[in-house]
Symmetry: C2
Subunit: 237 residues, 2 copies
Amino acid sequence: MKLPQYRKLQHLLKKQILTGIYQEGDLLPSENDLRLHHQITRTTVRQALDQLVKEGYIRKKKGKGSIVRSQRETLGLLSFHGFSEVVKATEHTGYTKWLKPSYWNDWGNTFFYPLSEKEKKAGCICIERLRSVDTDPVILEYTFIPNVLSPGLLQLPLVDQSLFKTLQYEYNIEVISVVQDVRALPANPVVAIHLELREQDPVLHIYRKYKTNRPDFFLYSSLYCNTAKYAIGSVFT
Amino acid sequence: MKLPQYRKLQHLLKKQILTGIYQEGDLLPSENDLRLHHQITRTTVRQALDQLVKEGYIRKKKGKGSIVRSQRETLGLLSFHGFSEVVKATEHTGYTKWLKPSYWNDWGNTFFYPLSEKEKKAGCICIERLRSVDTDPVILEYTFIPNVLSPGLLQLPLVDQSLFKTLQYEYNIEVISVVQDVRALPANPVVAIHLELREQDPVLHIYRKYKTNRPDFFLYSSLYCNTAKYAIGSVFT
DNA sequence: GAGTGGTCTAGACCACCTG
DNA sequence: AGGTGGTCTAGACCACTCG
């Protein structure tokens, strides 16, 4: 575990942002301050800050400084949920309902993405959630997590109700990229009931594979979206 | 027009990749070579290469070199079409049909994204294309280009049949990010006919706004996708 | 005018890959 | 062993922001 200097600074600053020591809109210490405090050169400081920019934690402004961005914005890029963005943009309120307690399962015969032997053997923890904007159900989400974490997610309470935050705080696991396949489908009965649609109404369906900073650990999701009222937004940079 | 050194090198290398001087899998000259040839320091060379990595033109390997990636992969990140990816992955052949010659139009009363006064006054050039995989129509695409380019896109032949390539070669305009809204809709009669679906069948619909390296120049698209056979893939990093 | 980030120089040592 | 990219040092000048 020999991290380069710039990674250490990067992780330190990220932690300080995530724990609220620096909040949205705050300025980080200047590159010069950081250089003096950590006894490294400005090049190295800049390397650390470049990473944080790439990850969306800060943006930089010439003559001003490094400005902390909101975590919503950060997630927005990755999540593609539209959920948080929609909620944020419209000042509606978002709500997530656990359809049932998370449970262990094997992967079934035909999982939507290929699995490694290790993943297959461990089975997975399944989470079924319904996400709403105000009182409108918008996303029905099935999440599949390989059961390879100790002590296991089943026993843990979630930080802030958020799976990603829990993984980050408890296991240092961070999502670094997402691959997804998107389709338009007619709603099946289960989907129709939860999303308050008629059967056969068009729904947006997304298969997702999340890559993390652990090379052998992935997350999987299957999402059904009612886009009648709210579209799903995303940004590519 | 005072470009920093690293931008110049970045653009030179990009041009050489796009024109095939360096092809997929080739190694770029080493950082040391580039430094000597261009009389700049390695730091500056690395800055240029970092940009190309970010844009997906190359990937770097320690002990090996900077390897040129395929342009398909590159576009894949931005395009979100799934079109080229699907075609590439399955070794089917892609085909684009101009439904009619491009034509001038005002924007209509309710364009899907807000427009600047300058854009409104100029009107737009419209392109209607149908993209197919083998013989299956997959994407019906309407593209709207503000009519602010001289001599105007209407008179120009397209490079490689590609709008993006034409903009890059003729005007030095490059797309740098995309904002989009995605929905599932029932097919209307026009869409149904072109995509060979029944009316009311679910189609994926995407509104897109492309941001370019010209701060005041955007492109707009509206896409209808038949996802019955081919899903739309995308990657977030 | 003082402080900030943006660009750049001229070196250095390391880990990794390949012959 | 020699070449590659990865990390890092210790400086410099510039353009921009703000009081």
